[in-house]
Symmetry: C2
Subunit: 358 residues, 2 copies
Amino acid sequence: MTTATRKVKKEIPAHEARAEAQRIAFGPVLFMACWTMQRKGLFDLLFKAGTEGITQMELAAESGLSPYAIKVLADMALTSGVLHEREGRLTLTNTGLMLATDKMTQANMDFVGDVCYQGMWHLEEALEAGRPAGLKVFGEWPTVYRALAELPQHVRRSWFEFDHFYSDHSFPPAMDIVFASAPRQIMDVGGNTGKWAISCLRRDPKVRMTVVDLPGQLVEVERNVAKAGFADRLTTVTADMLDPNSRLPEGADIIWMSQFLDCFSEDEVVAILQKARSAMGPNTSVYIMETFIDRQRFEAASFCLAGTSLYFTAIANGNSRMYRAEDFKPLVERAGLRVAEEHDHVGQGHSIWRCVRA
Amino acid sequence: MTTATRKVKKEIPAHEARAEAQRIAFGPVLFMACWTMQRKGLFDLLFKAGTEGITQMELAAESGLSPYAIKVLADMALTSGVLHEREGRLTLTNTGLMLATDKMTQANMDFVGDVCYQGMWHLEEALEAGRPAGLKVFGEWPTVYRALAELPQHVRRSWFEFDHFYSDHSFPPAMDIVFASAPRQIMDVGGNTGKWAISCLRRDPKVRMTVVDLPGQLVEVERNVAKAGFADRLTTVTADMLDPNSRLPEGADIIWMSQFLDCFSEDEVVAILQKARSAMGPNTSVYIMETFIDRQRFEAASFCLAGTSLYFTAIANGNSRMYRAEDFKPLVERAGLRVAEEHDHVGQGHSIWRCVRA
């Protein structure tokens, strides 16, 4: 087994386990303390102070927060390994440094804070009902995809920053993989904001793109592609992949599905891949880009993916998840496809599978 | 420095710090997953399965949850060190064992889940305004103490179980300390549900108790003391310690304040201790029992106390906290008292200070 999550690890002793359990128990409180410290600029001040450090009174004066507010936040950070204190001066630990400066940590914090925190309260209901019961904190929609265009601006921003953080790192190497076969016609199923389409159109002036998505998203795709100056090589197709009568157009050399199938349940994934199969010619490949829990180099990455699964449960749609490759491959096969090529560790932990008709 | 939090610890390497930061970022999600697993009986099933383990399908069948629900919860638990998996069978790690069986962990989880989770969302507002802005998730009250009698039953239960878990372990040793001087008249300021009063009345048939609290709580104190058969040795006194005109009655040998002063801001603590001082005779002692962040044997205990501080900020009253002894002693002195005796590590990390007129 190559996966981080399958290693049977050395067991920690009971007193450490007890401490670990308390970190889980007070996890929401620790999160809110750190997120608040980020948002109020305290981590920035601490970062600027460097190894010199900064006093609580200086933090209060510079942030505008009360000495009481600084004290309770600092106590939380000091007892959780986020800050050090020496002779009354606070400095960031390595963990604090990540919270202060690391872009992935920032994207994760804002995603959990803005998109997940309140809705996660309804996790139990979501698990019991198979519905995204937490989405109601934002309004009444059946899934987050229907809601996306109407979510509050800061929620939308955190959603896309999370989404794009991961795809931004994967798109350049992914493009090398996809363009190796010099495709002329690429169909992007689940085109999101058009980022991938624009990258492809920019990369090769002879390539044509077809983007398939829900109407709300296609408006944005068209606007963004037009702004980039590539409208003449774009076709958009409105289709709801959950509609049993929907079809995908034929004629593509490559069908691209990036971080798309994780938005669906196992049966839905099979049905969508069957639609793809029906649209495939003899030389068409389906490229699936996903982040698989069991194909990560770092345990922390598997952990974040498993956490993201619960976002799907509680907020997105109630029935999808970040898959394990071992669970996902049988779905590809059930759809009458087979995996012809596998690439792991693309960008931030993505895998790309080239699939052909079985 | 004897305190766990003051040790400058060995710095963890960057990749571990990055993992640690992600655990903070997804902390609310991990919490909700584990709390749900507790509440739905999954940890009980895993505990019963012992080292044999149990499959995901068996967990689904026995809990009534869907295979999908079990899978997303199990992935979260597997990637966070709560569960092990071997040949398709899940077992609890030591951390999982704590979540499944440890009473303190249970009390902390229910407290954070039922009392804190939703209100903690308003932490930033609470810190800025100095008001318990999160209390509004339950209704409109100025402080949680005014709300306590009217909170939803399950919230009230989790609040008291948290409170009592810690005091239950400290009351027996605390009683030995307090009764060493053979007091005849004890005044309990902030009598809560009457637990301490009943313990004292039971311990010594010659002791008389005066309990001071808000009217709502005194009803419960009187009922509980009467039920225990000690009504004839109880006096109750209604007083709001925040009212500048309130006074404490004279004549007590011992004035007892247990986990009471942490409910107040620094200036309020001084004002209350001044009221106590005015009520003291030449031989009266004030016994203060608190959990001080900087007097804990275990770092995890300091961490839980710092987390509890943020409950005070966001939900209880907006301006109090679990104190550090180093911050608290000056308050005692400002009130014209001095600490004559100190006991640390009483029960679950309590300290008891005997204070006399300076």
